[in-house]
Symmetry: C2
Subunit: 284 residues, 2 copies
Amino acid sequence: MKMFADCIPCFMNQALTASRMATDDSSVHDRTLRMAAAALAETDSTMTPPAMAQMIHRIIRTESGVADPYAEVKERFNAFALELYPELKRMVAESSDPFETAVRLAIAGNIIDFGASNHLRDEAVTIAIRESLQCDLDHGTLTAMREEIAAAETILYLCDNTGEIVFDRVLIEELPLERVTAVVRGAPIINDATMADAKNVGLTDLVRVIDNGTDAPGTILKQCDAELRSLFDAADVIIAKGQGNYETLSDVPRPIYHVLRIKCPVIARDVGCDVGSSLVTLRA
Amino acid sequence: MKMFADCIPCFMNQALTASRMATDDSSVHDRTLRMAAAALAETDSTMTPPAMAQMIHRIIRTESGVADPYAEVKERFNAFALELYPELKRMVAESSDPFETAVRLAIAGNIIDFGASNHLRDEAVTIAIRESLQCDLDHGTLTAMREEIAAAETILYLCDNTGEIVFDRVLIEELPLERVTAVVRGAPIINDATMADAKNVGLTDLVRVIDNGTDAPGTILKQCDAELRSLFDAADVIIAKGQGNYETLSDVPRPIYHVLRIKCPVIARDVGCDVGSSLVTLRA
């Protein structure tokens, strides 16, 4: 998905918020905002929003000297989601359709996205779980996904954010574990999950986890490690979590199951649904 | 008042909104946003927010080819305020303190500011009137202002926005009319009042009205006509309406009565009050 004009003010807001998370020094905020504006002025509309985010957050990290402004937020939401984990597992176990329930919970976990909003409260996660368990999902897509997973020899699961990765673990535990490779980001970017988070939430004890080698909040294939690219080409099923993976992969000519919550009007317009929608969709 | 980092994302939002008001052509929005970003990248923190706004809105007008994107909004709020005018006059006439009531109404009218918000509904004006009539005001400043006005030979009244200018008329009608010069902007900028609006709401039939010769949404003295500058230097009392006049004049070493509603957190911080406050304050 290409960027829209709306993305530019949104990234300027994100630059200010992240810069303030990194430092109290207002001269750093001023410099960062102007460098971000200069960088955005040079973009063109063929860029994806995560490519812009990558550029902006590199400026934020360099100017503040803080390698991971979201470290505390990430820690907090991993811990919060791990506390929820037994309850999530109980919901799946008691469900008449554990796979579908796990998909719905994975969508709910996608609310934990500090790219889309910087003011997330724990209650929002609880509300997202309730909404996601009750909302309409495309049952044709769910059935196809279930059947393809059953027949697949290799499943690539592209993770998204911290906290959310605990919800992904719940879904991954409903998949044939030995055939799954989970993918995290290669370096800190917004509140996206990295290898440290995969270890923290126990995902590395369950399935093979690799990182994609990049600091983009999505999957920009041409930037990714050769290993990821060949897994991507060869996988029988690809499950991509969240907006960042959708934005970077929606135009890739390859069947991908996108599992996400729609949090921004630009993606809502691209997908053709409302902000707040829960979605399982196959793009090919 | 100098700009803060917060102003940069805010102006990018304003650029997008105004550009969309001017045209449906998304290529114009894209180009405008990138040019605005480039211009903001070159600013420094000694600029006032209205100087930045002037720069951004020149880009919007040039790129869209629309000389006044806010023309319809301005027309609508002038008409709406003119409908309210008899009721505003009744409130003043029935008040135990007509001057204070007129000041309070002038503050209420300052809610009609499309620089601070682009989603203003008629109800917001009615609510602002109620709040402004009931809120605490600095009675020491009000008394000093009243006494200085009584003794003044020349009073300069710097207007702000369309719609609001009807509320200003109500306050101006409580002043010694023959000693008042009202000032409007020299050219269309956001929803600020120009000479056409002063005529439209009947202000030109009451007092002398001049324009300041600029398209800044404030009073940037060094850009203003010589006539305004000499009136500014010589006036016994200056009343400045709204945020734009505050931002451009708060550091000028000259006593000025600022009459406004605080609509943005940056000005709230500078003034030392909450967003939503009604204010009569003397800066010198």
